[in-house]
Amino acid sequence: MSDPMDEIRQTFFIECRELLEATESGLLELQGGSDDPETVNAVFRAVHSIKGGAGAFGFDALVHFAHEFESLLDDLRSRRLEPSRPLIDLMLRAADVLSELVSAAEYGTEAPEEMAQQLVGEIRANSASGEAPVDANEDDFAPVPMDFGFDFGMDMAPPERKAQVFQIYFQPKATMLANGGEPAIVLRELAAIGPLTVSASLNALPELEKMEPSGAYISWEIQVEAEDDKAIREAFEFFEGDCELSIQQLEAEQGEALGLPSLGGPEVDAAAELSVPAEIEAHPDAGSTPAVAEKVPTGGTAKVAANNNSNSTIRVDLDRVDRLINLVGELVVNQAMLSQSVLDSDVRVETSVSKGLDEFKQLVREVQDSVLAIRAQPVRSLFQRMTRVVREASSATGKDVRLEIEGEMTEIDKTVIEQLSDPLTHMVRNAVDHGLEKNDARLEAGKSAQGTISLSAAHRSGRVVIEVADDGGGINRDRVRAIAVEKGLIPEEAVLTPGEIDNILFLPGFSTASKVSDLSGRGVGMDVVKRSIQALGGKISIRSVPGKGTTFSISLPLTLALLDGMLVQVSSHTLVVPLTSISETIKPHPENIHMLAADGPVVLVRGEFIPVIDIGAALGLREPLECFDSQVFVLVEHETLGLRAFAVDNILDQRQVVIKSLEQNYQRVDGIAAATILGDGKIALILDPEMLSIKAAGRDDAFWSLSNKPEMADGLRRAS
């Protein structure tokens, strides 16, 4: 990353991604029937900015395509074209190609040239230019100055840069000579840049007897041809302050646009280069002079507008945020350490140390929340993508589908959002393809012909719950069961509850589709969805009511770095049970603990016998217990197995712990999700209650091992 040019490129691509997102969300708004001219303008500006930046870096294919796309958008903007559905579809596809071209430029992969060519053809066919009625309307006037702006931008491509003539006035001071500066060397260096003419001015030369031997009396006027003034300035680099120097470009008009931007400048240059500086000065506030701003949508005005919208945001490298989050994690550990030692030293509660510590704790908590909030983003962008998925899926299946979105402003960790995209896409597609019945079948069932998919996000007790629901026919359990038996996923005689049958959907290799359809037959099943959700430390569950529809519910942690846990003690070890899987803790009366046979302890809780898992023995930390009378039970709930009672010696504390990966330096361990560092610097293991329940259930047959691979821990491991 030492190459400054490389960094600028990186920034360009980051910006591109945001611009592409803006393009797509704008187009989707249009598709949703928005007729706000600002929406079209926003899309136009986004595409234009991509083009501008791409031009500066010489990505010709990208520039070319963006240019075509932009022309089409301009037709839309100037109302020569109506935002009809086919047109918006075309534009969405164009946005896709644009995005691929950007990736191609970024990673040097093969550009989708054929597709781009084809789309350019379609765009041209759709384009209204030439056929448009020539009105005196000022809207129609818009493209003229704008096009001028583009061409200007395209000429800017660095390889095409023409040599400029610079006029240099150079007068060394005596200090320059005293410091070892030699004008002849400077002149020689300038000569190496390009053809030059030099004339020395001897006007300041005093008479011989008045001349100081160490004085500097000669000045030079130099004209040199160069690409820009960078090399010229370099020639004088060592003598800054030791000479009088002025460098001017002779063709003033081009000079302003071409000569000044230096290569080392920030990314703003790409856009700024395209702008006519006077324009920005004249209209610093795009909002107050909308008419003019519309007419001259150069990079400059786009930038100004963008600044108006988002002047309170700052773009930060994700690595830095991650580092900050890690540090806050350490701070949390440290705070716990401090609390522990204060507690150990028997300081009384009302002392200033104790009070100070309380405040410190609060501050740490606040810092932690704020830092985590940096990475939080509303799920809106993700949900917006789903509108498109629904549209594509509905047209592919010929079903009439409406998408309802709720809670799109709910915030989650950015990395979680990114990794949710694929699973959610799959689930939404599934809901349209398998969940909803065909239109006529719906009418027969007494429902409206139009099916509804609802997508919602909400915060629920420290987690985010995202639901994908359809109002279709629900899961056909008989059929699911039959297929599972046929595919050998479950034994024929297996007795499964409705919930267990529903969960068969998550088994690898399971598909209800009798034939592979375009939509769902992509080799991705719900098992993959489940795995990716678990990899994020999340859970997915399914609810289905025959005839009424199916709801998939994903519950995710707000962050991948910290976990609310209950610290428990098992013999001499401290273990952490994730709070999210705990439903309650009990200290039962000894007479409520029973043995099924020789072993197989169960505990009676409110009339229900719950299997007891001896955690110490399950983890091999000690010999199996004979008697559970003195144990405390932590009840955890497994989505299919139901409740399990984890027998521990003691409950120590409930606190937030920093997740430390085991896999990073070691490997996956059954029953252990990750590790954490306690206040005393010791390591404690974070349990994976799901896995422990499954293993203890002894149901290690194909069904359980397939359906419950311990991927839950993946996210935790990856987190640190």
Binding site: L619, Q664, N665, Q667, V669, G671, A675, K682, A684
Partner: protein, 155 residues
């Protein structure tokens, strides 16, 4: 030729020599991150016998391997006198428990001898070559083989 290369050619490779179960071993100094005193590791369930447990290395959780146990010798055991050599292999940090670190020495490549063929599968798997040094035989440990392959299992 840069400085590093020159240094290498002049003195050959550098090794950290240590003693485990009374035998002399060494590892390439390039993989050694640091040498620490022993501290009680947190035991880890379902791990091979030679993995003593987990260790907190300034915020990173690293596993501790008992070298002697791994080589099939009597386990090093656990006491404050033992030393943990932290190595980095395949981007993973590991701690290796040994009796003591004895020396840091420079050996030219020529001094590396092929492991004598003694017919012990375990020995020849873990010892990649031997070095004769001041009448001692230093066994050079092949850490890649010594530490269990984990990434593949995890993938």
């Amino acid at each position: 030729m840069d400085f590093e290369e020159r240094a290498k050619n002049a003195v050959g490779r550098e090794f950290v020599a240590f003693v485990s179960a009374g035998q002399d071993y060494c590892v390439d100094i390039a993989v050694v991150r640091e040498i620490r005193g022993w501290a009680q590791p947190t035991p880890m369930p379902h791990s091979p016998e030679y993995v003593q447990g987990l260790f907190n290395l300034r915020g990173s959780v690293i596993p501790i391997v008992d070298l002697a146990a791994r080589l099939g010798l009597p386990p090093t055991g656990s006491s404050d006198r033992h030393v943990v050599i932290v190595v980095k292999i395949r981007d993973q940090l590991w701690g290796i428990v040994v009796d003591a670190v004895s020396d840091i020495l420079s050996v030219s490549d020529a001094a590396l001898q092929k492991t004598p063929d003694v017919g012990s599968a375990k020995t020849s798997a873990f010892v990649s070559s031997v070095i004769s040094h001041e009448d001692r035989m230093l066994r050079m440990i092949d850490l890649e083989v010594l530490l269990p392959v984990t990434r593949e299992v995890a993938a």
